[in-house]
Each structure stands twice: as structure tokens, then as C-alpha cells.
Amino acid sequence: MLRLYEATLASRLLLGTARYPSPAVLTAAVRAARAEVVTVSLRRESGGERAGQGFWSLIRALGVRVLPNTAGCHSVKEAVTTAHMAREVFATPWIKLEVIGEEDTLQPDLFGLVEAAGILCAEGFEVFPYTTEDLVAAERLLAAGCRVLMPWGAPIGSGRGLNNLFGLSALRAHFPEVPLIIDAGLGVPSHAARALELGFDAVLINTAIAQARDPVQMAAAFAQAVAAGAAARAAGPIEPRDLAVPSTPVIGTAFRG
């Protein structure tokens, strides 16, 4: 079971809700993924416009937990204000904290992230910081009160997988007790399986499923990969080695000696 703050979850696949071809496909994908947590956001809505209201009704009908994000925020102030607004609308202390620092890679501003996390944790938020594999930033985020970390695999929407395997493995090794969710950059189910095999607790997927030719089928494929990766981790993978070891017993081999 996956424990995130006070929640206990069976699914280790969290789903983003953006960029699906239709609301019906989004609904079917959430079900196929067997996701228990979906991310949501806030955007400007003009009077009389009903897009946000319809979307919120759809999400509530799914009966899943929501993890609101602060996507698009480039400063501590924006992120903190957006978190307050999200808490009111979505009625949850959870916040996926994003403070974007660089436009081309959407790389988090780790300095702003730590500052915003400190403010929000002190106010009772349960913060899920979107971070990198940086060990010092992770330490500061935990000291600020975060009890979950969400390191990137690769830049958001890039589909490149686990870009820095060494760095991510070091992060896992340094914080064995902290729930770590790979957020962003995964492209195919094998990336997710690899993350779980390495000991990461969960993955958050959006673009790789929403933009697949068949998002529902891809959601099911990711669910299988996550389950396989988690089972493999629990089963204890062998250590890689350089030389061959015969898997068939050599005693009694014919034609020898």
C-alpha cells in the first residue's frame, strides 16, 4: 500500500487530467488506470462560461482524490496564493507545489520551491513538491515539512523517461523512508516499471497517456507496468554482474571429461 500523508492507497499510478481528446476518454482512462488520485488545476473563467463547472462535476463523479497543482506559477507569491485558492475550491489540504524557474525545460525553481513549501506546510497544507533529483533541495523540502517528494524523471511532457538514473537512484538511497513519486517526463510503460523497480513509490503520468493514440489502452498498459515494477521491487531483483553465470547446472553435463 502507498501512504501519502494520512491517505493509504492501493494504486501507485497517479493520473493527470489534461490534454485528453474528450471528457469521456479522460473518464475511461482514469478507470483503466485504476487511479485513485488525479491532478487538477485552476484557470481563469469568465462569467457565464461553464467549462470549469462541467469539469469539476466530472471529476467528482469519478470518486477519486484530487491533487490540485500550482502549474504556471513562476513566483513564491503566485504559488502560495494559488494554493490558498485551490484549497478553497477543491476542499483538500493536498497541493502539488510547482514553482517554475525556466521556460524551455519547465525546470522547478528549487529556491522558490523550498520557500513556498515552508510557508504552505506551516499553514497546514500537505505539500507534494515538484522537484528534481537534487539531494540538497530534497533535504530542505523535508526540513520545511514536506512528507512526500515528487522528483522529475525528465522535463514535463518530454516522454524521455528517467533522464538521470544515477541521481534518482541516489535520491532513493538517501531517503529510504520518504514516499517518492516520479512526476513528469515518463513516456512509455517500461519507464514506469523501471521507476518502481528502482524503489520509487509511485509515478504520476499525464501526457504519455492523454496524448497516446489510444489513451485508455495506454492507461491500462501503464497500470500493468506499475504493478509489475512494484511486484519486482518487492521480490528483490538480482544484482547485475559482468560475467555470465550458467543458469543450467553444470554438474553432469554430457560430453565433458
Binding site: T17, S41, E45, A86
Partner: protein, 65 residues
């Protein structure tokens, strides 16, 4: 009175935030508000008065990753 709503200048008759939202057509919509970058909780809207040139943000749930 002229205020900036979600980045656009708008003319409103009211100054009180609840009435402004009603006037702008939000009615019973689930929205959350900020004035000049500061969050204004739903409970504080009836006692929040806007001034000329204030920047009002009105946000609603939306898809997100």
C-alpha cells in the same frame, strides 16, 4: 467603476465583491477569487470592497497535470 477582471478592463456598477461576481455572470458558479494578488476567501467576499483599478482574479477548476 473600472477594474481589471482576469486581465481585462471591465466596468462594474457595484464595489462589493459578491455583487461584482453576480454582475459579471458568475452567479452560483464554483469559483475562487483573489484581489491584487491576495486570496479572498468566499466568506470574506461580502465584506470585500473593490476600488478603481483593482485587479480581480476569478478562477475555476480546470484540467491539470
Amino acid at each position: 467603476m473600472r477594474i481589471v477582471v482576469n486581465g481585462d478592463w471591465r466596468e462594474t456598477a457595484s464595489a462589493e465583491l459578491c455583487a461584482v461576481l453576480e454582475e459579471l455572470g458568475y452567479g452560483a458558479s464554483i469559483v475562487t477569487t483573489a484581489v491584487n494578488g491576495e486570496f479572498v476567501a468566499a466568506g470574506a467576499r461580502p465584506v470585500t470592497r473593490l476600488a478603481e483599478g483593482d485587479r480581480l482574479e476569478v478562477l475555476a477548476p480546470m484540467q491539470g497535470g
